[in-house]
Symmetry: C2
Subunit: 463 residues, 2 copies
């Protein structure tokens, strides 16, 4: 077993093998837990990175997780805790003894403590805060005073700063004299006498410059600051867009209050993507560690909204019962109308939602994009009109049916292209996340318009 | 105008304002281009970050882009070029004179040159390579010899290394003596006599240690290496998972050949997400800068596949023409069956595809997740069976129709939940990207099974 778990630590391995090994690691953790074998459990944990232990705890079911924590709860440190998915963090924290919890959080930087705290309930928060010493406790409480998902919550307060007039030698001497430097830092931030950041110097540049060089002569062009109340997603976007490593954060008076480092921004970007994908798929906020009951509860509202819009489509169909009664072929072709419209609408919507998220779709090109979608929808509509016209004639031997489905196809794909971009743009304008609501709106539009065009035209032509 | 463009540079501004300003910047660039006013165009560009200029070029239409480049092509430097979306990079490179192009790439690190080169055609590649001096050219050609999307393509070759026995003082003296240090570096990589990396030291730690301290006593635990042929997505995943800043890359003999920095990994993660979202939405590889004709061409195949599967559903319906003819209410209710099944399937599939992408869904928990999806599908099916049963009775005054749609709902949502997770798992097993193909398979299954259950049961009960 030791061999296998050892190898797991080497990501340079072939991916397939890596996964197979991971599975075996998880399996042997579960086995050790079920056998009540603490020694073997610790042996499994030993070579693992904290992030991998967190993943392991997420992947096992609730029962095994409780058992693992009962056996080796004292093995859970702050790093593991800060990596654990917020959905199960509560339950993990609950099983830990106050002493273990205190020990776990004490070693963390302030941003990680905040990250853990914000998902806990009041009582658990108190327990963690009590474990911190006064200085840390105040720091964490100040961070919690900033709005959720703000730069203030994401930043670490530990920053290496320097007056603007310092030389390279001054900075190096200062750092050598201080043993409490942040665990992670890549820039020295220059601040003016009022503690407002004005520039930064990378450690690499500092390192390769002579001692007498002035810091202000080797600052980086990439310097920019972020407001403490700014949305963490916007900061992450800027960090990615401008290849920043350190993002200084300032309060309303422009004074330095902390820095956001790129690895935390990367995690935010990852979470925001996760949220976007899930929302586009009609699942609010869900993870594999949720129980059956939880996912039923979370998916139910979306299915309910979908049912309401589907009934709307049904009502449109019911208007045309006469023609359906007369020509049953129409009922056979209906799913093609709905499916093609829905699909084309989803294509157009996906591009629009994504482009809005990446700030590529803006007021300056919206009109051009709408025109392009309309033209593309129309062109694809014409192509599939020809295809479906032929299918209609061959399948049902009726040029009239072929004509009806062909025209419906053009109308449907044109409307799909248009609504696919207009709905997200409108939602964005009204401050609603397009990823959250666009799908339902777009398919409602394509269903209603598609059925109306198809069956309405059929009534005129075939009755 | 100057005021506005100046302010654009400050991301700490309120987001709405920031966007409005961006729009105005783009608009004035277009205006300047149309007026043939080079001076004003340069004035617009001046305060912008290279990444923002790249965005601007992506947001304008092809005609304006050509005009902008004709006026101020010499303003395009390597940094802008490496930020430009690959879809339009070709056309931008084409408009640049060889001298401008050569100047643009000469200042870049090797990884950025490779990034630009890999999307150009043979002739353009030659032109760029010719612009480089021999050492750089060889470096770039070696990188291009690695597979596309591999660590070897992503890495920069410029690394600061040190023998294992050096002290802090040795390292600092070495760096001070070298003026050609990489533009960006955050670690010193320790290599053994055979040039195999064995550890690394952060610059922060180096900085705060006394000169006589041995490097090997202040190395970081987070150290791990990556194979040069490893997929860039896997490296980006590991960098995010383990909060790495520098990822040393080794060849098949374990020798150091370069490093991947977190900002490049963040860009890869972002691109992979983009790809996932677009694939899930049934759009292959598309961007806002594509022309109408290009998006028609790219979306057409997906719509074609969708049509084929929709026809399959139609064929199922055609089997039951008798009962549809007899009870037209069934045709009215059909879209509800299709829509609910499709939606529930998409929910389950989205969670599964995402969990596969984030390595959260593995062999060790697949069975548990499948069971959970089946149970959740069944439960939601029962809830909506009750709802639809009541709707059926009230709307059509027929308990039989209510019964049929209720049973169909349970079958449909159960199958949706199951296929939503089984299809992605199967695709993944066979090495097909689940994001690419799962949607079509899942909705085909839910449509076919849904219509079959609904109309088949109706035939038995109502005829």
């Amino acid at each position: 077993m030791t061999d296998q778990t050892d190898t797991m630590d080497r990501p340079e391995d072939d991916t397939e093998d890596d996964y197979a090994l991971r599975n075996r690691v998880v399996a042997s953790a579960i086995q050790a837990a079920e056998d009540g074998d603490r020694a073997r459990l610790v042996q499994v944990f030993e070579p693992l990175h904290p992030a991998d232990i967190a993943d392991l705890l997420e992947q096992v079911n609730a029962e095994d997780r409780t058992q693992i924590l009962r056996l080796a709860g004292d093995y859970i440190d702050g790093e593991i805790l800060s990596e654990i998915d917020e959905d199960i963090r509560d339950s993990v924290v609950e099983t830990l003894s106050p002493a273990v919890l205190a020990e776990a959080v004490r070693e963390l930087e302030s941003d990680d403590v905040v990250d853990i705290l914000e998902d806990l309930d009041q009582l658990q928060q108190e327990a963690v805060l009590d474990a911190l010493d006064v200085v840390d406790r105040i720091a964490v409480e100040q961070a919690l005073a900033y709005p959720e998902f703000s730069a203030g919550r994401l930043m670490q307060r530990e920053v290496v700063i320097s007056p603007e007039h310092w030389s390279v030698g001054d900075a190096i001497d200062h750092m050598r004299a201080h043993t409490d430097l942040p665990e992670q830092f890549y820039h020295i931030v220059l601040v003016d006498p009022r503690h407002r950041p004005t520039a930064y110097v990378t450690l690499g540049r500092l390192m390769s410059s002579r001692r007498e060089v002035a810091l202000k002569d080797i600052t980086e062009e990439s310097f920019r600051t972020f407001d403490v109340t700014e949305d963490e997603g916007d900061v992450a976007y800027a960090i990615n867009q401008y290849h920043l490593i350190t993002a200084p954060v300032v309060d309303e008076d422009g004074r330095l209050v902390g820095v956001i480092l790129i690895d935390d921004a990367m995690a935010v970007l990852d979470e925001e993507h996760e949220e976007d994908v899930l929302r586009l798929g009609g699942v609010g906020d869900e993870s594999l560690s949720n129980s059956t009951f939880e996912i039923v509860k979370r998916r139910f509202p979306w299915l309910g909204i979908n049912l309401a819009t589907a009934i709307l489509a049904s009502i449109v169909i019911s208007i045309f019962e006469d023609v359906l009664q007369a020509v049953v072929a129409l009922a056979v072709l209906m799913p093609i109308v709905a499916s093609m419209g829905g699909n084309a609408g989803t294509q157009s919507m996906t591009v629009a939602v994504r482009a809005l998220a990446t700030r590529d779709l803006t007021g300056s090109n919206a009109l051009r994009v709408v025109r392009r979608e309309a033209a593309a929808g129309f062109l694809n509509g014409v192509i599939f009109a020809v295809v479906m016209g032929i299918v209609g004639v061959i399948w049902f031997g009726s040029p009239a049916i072929g004509f009806v489905i062909a025209v419906a196809m053009v109308v449907n794909l044109l409307v799909a292209g248009l609504s696919g971009v207009l709905v997200p743009l409108a939602l964005d304008k009204f401050g609603v996340d397009p990823a959250l609501a666009a799908g339902t709106f777009v398919t409602t539009v394509t269903d209603v318009v598609g059925f109306f065009a198809f069956l309405g035209l059929a009534s005129v032509v075939l009755l």
